[in-house]
């Protein structure tokens, strides 16, 4: 095999993996809607449909030793981080087999073994924790990166400003990823922020910051790779604004009265999944058969996860107060 062909194969493999991850998240979320309607999942649930390129593109850039801090719209982050779908869905079913033993639900997915620090449902609340994780790595001389995902709503919180400043001041290895889906629940960015160019604001704290087309998974992956590489060679925070859009309402309770249907339809034209498929097809990297096989694989995985969640045991009520404090010998 020529060097050129090897590179082409590697590229095709990488793109296929990104596509597979995005389809996995999309189909998972679609099934979650059905399961929510059937009352198998309760509570607040925030869907990631439309934003898949961000999770897939960002999280492919980091390794098992790196840390990830996320938000309440985190099903996609959890899946892209490698949390087993069984454990994620079982959590939403409130089962002991869930990744938080049924104590967290949709908004609080955790997996210490994969350094996935949740699942924070206070907007902006994850940023200080991410700074601390990076501080620990820096103080121990570990070459790791902490990825901190949050939405555009968090930019209005004091923690955003406190944490970007602190991370830059102390030169901490944090990759701040702002998923700008244009709405903080129902409030559009320009109704809440005097300066809507979020990268400009991040840059004012003395870190490299750029905006990326968050609907283009290849652009996201490339930006994330570069940022992570930079952080590893010269520990300092970096900021990415991922310009994206959620196709569904804020949560299952949201009647979505605050935006035009035409706006949603317009953004759907930039849907990251067909966009990557089109690109790969043009480049001869994807056939209809291959795409169908990915869909079938994903379908099997989801069916198995549902079956496992349905069969998962419930935490006994006697264990209600376990884990309020650490268990001591």
């Amino acid at each position: 095999m020529s060097r050129r062909q090897a590179a082409q194969n590697a590229r095709a493999k990488h793109r296929t993996e990104l596509l597979r991850q995005m389809i996995r998240i999309r189909r998972f979320e679609e099934r979650c809607v059905e399961l929510y309607s059937a009352a198998r999942i309760r509570g607040f649930m925030h869907l990631y449909i439309g934003e898949e390129a961000v999770a897939a593109g960002i999280l492919q850039a980091v390794g098992a030793g790196d840390a990830v801090v996320s938000t309440y719209r985190e099903h996609g982050h959890a899946l892209a981080r490698g949390l087993p779908m069984d454990a994620v869905l079982a959590e939403m079913y409130g089962r002991t087999t869930g990744c938080s033993r049924g104590r967290g639900g949709s908004m609080h997915l955790f997996d210490a073994s994969r350094r996935f620090y949740g699942g924070n449902a206070i907007v902006g609340g994850g940023l200080p924790v991410a700074v601390g994780l990076a501080l620990a790595d820096a103080m121990r001389g570990r070459p790791q990166v902490t990825v901190c995902l949050f939405g555009d709503g968090a930019v209005a919180e004091g923690e955003f400003h406190e944490c970007l400043n602190l991370a830059a001041l102390w030169r901490l290895p944090v990759l701040f990823c702002c998923e700008n889906n244009l709405y903080a629940m129902g409030t559009r960015l320009d109704r809440a922020q005097a300066e809507v160019d979020l990268a400009v604001r991040a840059a004012s704290y003395g870190m490299q910051a750029r905006a990326v087309d968050g609907m283009d998974v290849l652009a996201v992956a490339e930006a994330a790779d570069q940022a992570v590489e930079k952080i590893r060679t010269e520990p300092r925070p970096q900021f990415l604004e991922l310009r994206t859009y959620r196709f569904r309402a804020h949560s299952m309770y949201d009647p979505d009265r605050y935006r035009d249907k035409s706006e949603i339809e317009r953004w759907k034209e930039a849907d990251p999944i067909p966009r990557l498929k089109h690109r790969m097809t043009e480049d001869g990297e994807l056939t209809g058969r291959r795409a169908a096989a990915i869909e079938a694989d994903v379908d099997r995985e989801i069916n198995a996860a549902i079956e496992a969640a349905e069969a998962g045991p419930l935490e006994p009520v006697e264990d209600l107060t376990r884990f309020v404090y650490s268990e001591r010998p």
Binding site: G104, Y117, I122, Y325, R328
Partner: protein, 322 residues
């Protein structure tokens, strides 16, 4: 002789020397030497990596303490006063106290937060409140209040070893208090209340800044033939309920001295538990001596009138013994 401040500093030095995972961070803990000079000299001794000055960003640096604890460190965070801790309340409640349970037992947070509490120094309403009772409301936290030299010296190390978040409240009027401290003083438990003065006629429960008030009141009561027992709570959450009930079983009378406001206070919790579990042991209604329900005022006579005083405790004890 040593001061409460020096005893705290010795505890900090001990932790920094004996566990390389520990570090101190907060506003002006380094170059300034600590707002109340507790950490004076530690920057020179341990360097800026481990005695870390922070910007005025309470939420960020308390949350960073939580993250660093998750990352394997044993951070000690200093917040200047409990009033300022409200800027970090989200991190303390929604993360530090909650992560272990919410993650199904995966993420414990071995973090110590020290802060100054209490009034008595004419610092007015935004530097003087006693809000430790609020924190004692929260499952997942351990709340301690050193009132003696031994506890100022020894509680920190035990707190640093704890796998879960511990909040340590230092009463502002104690820093300059001096007393004897054994040269070999070291770690103390943070589980139990301690009887500081045994007695038979009435139990005075106090902690932190009010312990001295209760002991002085007991001395005054002794002059008039009332033998008061003084119980120092030491740990406000979890409460050492057996120690409280044991004392009531001996004295049958209770006065709770609490610098918090009466409504919804720690004193209310103690009174309720005694009413639930030892009502028939009581020979008199429970008495509470608390801070008047006002923001702490500046003027000396007003501040004095707002706070639990020795005379108030003596009067309450006299009512109880009848």
């Amino acid at each position: 002789m040593t001061t409460y401040r020096e005893a705290l500093r010795a505890g900090l030095r001990d932790a920094l020397e004996h566990d390389e995972r520990t570090f101190l961070m907060g506003e002006d803990v380094g170059r300034y030497g600590g707002c109340f000079a507790v950490s004076l000299g530690l920057l020179e001794e341990f360097g800026p990596d481990r005695v870390r000055d922070t910007p005025l960003s309470e939420s960020a640096f308390v949350g960073a303490g939580i993250g660093a604890a998750l990352g394997g460190m044993r951070p000690i965070v200093e917040i200047m006063t409990v009033n300022f801790s409200l800027l970090a309340l989200d991190q303390i409640l929604n993360n530090a106290a909650t992560l272990l349970h919410m993650s199904g037992g995966q993420l414990n947070v071995p973090l110590v937060i020290r802060m100054t509490t209490g009034a008595g120094r004419q610092l007015a309403a935004q530097h003087s409140h006693s809000l430790e009772g609020w924190y004692a409301h929260i499952p997942g936290l351990r709340i301690v209040a050193p009132a003696t030299m031994e506890d100022a010296r020894g509680m920190l190390w035990t707190a640093v070893q704890d796998p879960d978040p511990v909040l340590l409240f230092e009463h502002g009027t104690l820093y300059n208090v001096s007393g004897e401290l054994a040269p070999d003083a070291g770690a103390v438990d943070i589980d139990h209340a301690v009887i500081r003065r045994p007695g038979t006629d009435v139990t005075l429960i106090a902690y932190g800044g009010t312990l001295r008030t209760a002991l002085d009141a007991a001395g005054e009561l002794a002059d008039s033939g009332v033998d008061a027992e003084v119980l120092d709570l030491r740990t406000l959450r979890p409460l050492d309920e057996p120690a409280i009930l044991d004392s009531i079983a001996r004295t049958h009378r209770l006065v709770v001295v609490d610098e918090g406001w009466r409504s919804g206070s720690l004193s209310a919790e103690i009174a309720a538990r005694v009413a639930e579990k030892a009502l028939y042991e009581l020979d008199a209604p429970i008495e509470r001596v608390c801070t008047a329900e006002v923001p702490i005022p500046y003027a000396q006579q007003l501040e004095h009138a707002a706070l639990p005083q020795q005379a108030d405790v003596v009067a309450a004890a006299r009512r109880a013994v009848g």
